[in-house]
Symmetry: C2
Amino acid sequence: MMPPQPPAGRRDDDGPTVAALLAPDILAMLDDDPASITLETEELHPRDLADVAEALPAERVVEFLTALAPARAADVLEYLDEELRSEVLEKMSARQAAALVSEMTPDDRADAIEELAEENEARAEAVLAELSPQAREETERLLAYEPYSAGGLMTTEFVAVPESLTIEEALGRVRGMARAERREAMYTVYTTDAEGRLRGVLSLRELLAAPEGARIADIAWTEVVTVPATAEQEEVARLTSDYGFVALPVVDAERRLLGVVTVDDVIDVIEEEQTEDVQKLGGMEALDDPYMTVSLPAVIRKRVGWLCVLFAGSLLTATVIERYEGRLSKAELLTLFIPLIVSSGGNSGSQATSLIIRAMALNEISLRDWWRVAGREIVSGLALGSVLGVLGLARVIVWQRMGWYDYGPFHVRVALTIGLTLLGVVTFGSLAGSMLPFVLRRAGFDPASASAPFVATLVDVSGLLIYFTVALALLRGTVL
Amino acid sequence: MMPPQPPAGRRDDDGPTVAALLAPDILAMLDDDPASITLETEELHPRDLADVAEALPAERVVEFLTALAPARAADVLEYLDEELRSEVLEKMSARQAAALVSEMTPDDRADAIEELAEENEARAEAVLAELSPQAREETERLLAYEPYSAGGLMTTEFVAVPESLTIEEALGRVRGMARAERREAMYTVYTTDAEGRLRGVLSLRELLAAPEGARIADIAWTEVVTVPATAEQEEVARLTSDYGFVALPVVDAERRLLGVVTVDDVIDVIEEEQTEDVQKLGGMEALDDPYMTVSLPAVIRKRVGWLCVLFAGSLLTATVIERYEGRLSKAELLTLFIPLIVSSGGNSGSQATSLIIRAMALNEISLRDWWRVAGREIVSGLALGSVLGVLGLARVIVWQRMGWYDYGPFHVRVALTIGLTLLGVVTFGSLAGSMLPFVLRRAGFDPASASAPFVATLVDVSGLLIYFTVALALLRGTVL
């Protein structure tokens, strides 16, 4: 009935995933013979089935999931877009929804209930009430942690064995656990003492490779990298990435294992954090949800705050010009270069700030490095400023010589003013752009708030001051 | 001899890792009793030992690594900063270096040789020549792939078994492989047919959970997500992240397994790609190496190109003002608001472009969505522009009423000019900022090149045109 299946996971650069192209066939089966769907799709990865579900008309998704076995449908649910998942769980009866989420891994189940609660608190409560007492208790425990903490990320399905076991006994336990229920975090085995405190760690590879008869305590590593449940998700991501872990254990104050954070969730965290940083760098608050799914009023709210702050900052440029107007009125031609000068400073500042914000995000530099960074940026700024300064100077001279514009008898001084100002503004921009993230971080703010527009506005105002100061020094007595 | 060891992996917000604090103890041991180092550090994760090595004086690192067993030193080498690693391999004899890199996983070995070749081509050749024929052949094969492709990322240490085996036979094979040599990518088991073509995949968890006596072909999934060796690293990262894989197989045209890319390398790719995007968004070329390790001339080179391009674009602002000067000369007061107006347009454009670039990087939107995005941005731009327009209008009226500045008898018209211009410029900025990534991508460029400064420059020039057009329409016959 199904056409030959396309290679999974392929996606045209700008098309739907190939799996999503199966949606029409699935629809036909839903109409004719829903029971056949399980068999026809049994070799597909749940991720691909989630793509299929997202390509179906919204009102058929529940039907599609119901046609699958509950464990399979739960797998699909884990990969489903958050909004669609909440919608599906809202449309089902609370009992149906509970049956589905019961089959999810504990961390994904808690996430699904949390998202559902955001849309429909009463329905989330109803689904919780329909869970088995054990699943409910576990879910409520996970929901109690901050969502962006290690506790909020961890799953409680991990493999821990007493350190007194032999390798063969431990392997038997691991196999038993793998059979009894899904253990998401299987590839790292933790050993515990009689009180259940974490004592050691070994990879499943090391367990399989260990000589028979050895004791697990002899093989396990005793220096275990752990985090408390309150650790921020950035810290969890940094450790996982630095050490190349597939799982990171979360412990309480007595070093008892509470759960583990698995690498797939860490990748999601890294991508989330990056999205936040890019949006902040663009000069707005982070959206928290995919661009196309956020409502327009919400997008506007996230953007308008910073726009107004930056606008207020920019108002100072008008004030600066008003202040100098009297003294500059004889040299209207200076206004020609105002946008050029402020933009050049803003551009070098934007470069510097994005370099520093990223280096801070990757822990390549810390607060103590500020003076080394300042030194580097002054040198870079002087070099870049010299290049632009020469270009600016040349612009005036060339236009004058070619007769394209007349800057008057003192055009060489005007050219020098433009060149020197560019040197100063670009150097100041680099320095200000690189130091702003340090200042923000020192003050306890997120350094990523030092957005490109923020730096540009800062440099706009100071750039004008530099410009007018240089002009008054070089042109007084001539055109001024 | 060693003090009680601190918890591994901890790091003060701005301090060194705690492991690095062990460096003085290690130095003392190197002086007194190098043989004791192996035992004293045996429980430490190689990542922590790499931190120790990075905290040692550069000239002692070789000594430190030589004090460890070669397999252990190779583990440390894998985590070492790239530059230090090349330096260490340059300082050792070619034979010593070959002994060390022989113990590394094939992909990391190829990376180490490649980095060494960048510093010292002859030395890299010498180390290659000292490898065993098999290791040399494998390394040269990996080096032949593009570094930023699936082939360049993959390791050749994977676990593949014939599909004809039973579960117990397969498990025995896997344990044998784990014992015989390090298999980095152990957690996913691939099944192959008699010709060695990839047929199926199962996780090690599924292998352990499978009922005894079953055949592996019955358990394995036959829809395997694969990539060719030429696949770009972004594609590898996207698939691994979307599916939550710990490993992704790389196959040739006949579907024979060439290698697998493991999730730890994918995390590195994701972070690299993100660094590139942030730096491009800041208006420069990507640095490719950590900020502090890149030489100043190299940083300046990466920045100066875009700065000059943007400068050339900004020169148009001077031309626009020169063009309008004749008609505007009676309304000097318009120049007061030039920086304010061009910045506001640039800021809304910067917001829009960072939103779209990130959504494209995450595959949330594709080229086909351009008109939906345009619609959203026009609405957002009008809303945001109205807010700033009212603020701008109020600025003129308030200053006039309070007597802080005199905009003349037609100050209401001036205020309207500023307000309407802001509305237009912010709307145009949002639209231009959101469409530029689409245009770049359509033209085959990286959409991330649509940097905040690029958009700002684009909007500077068009913002001035909008400003002067509105002014001529509203103020003709009054102050103009």
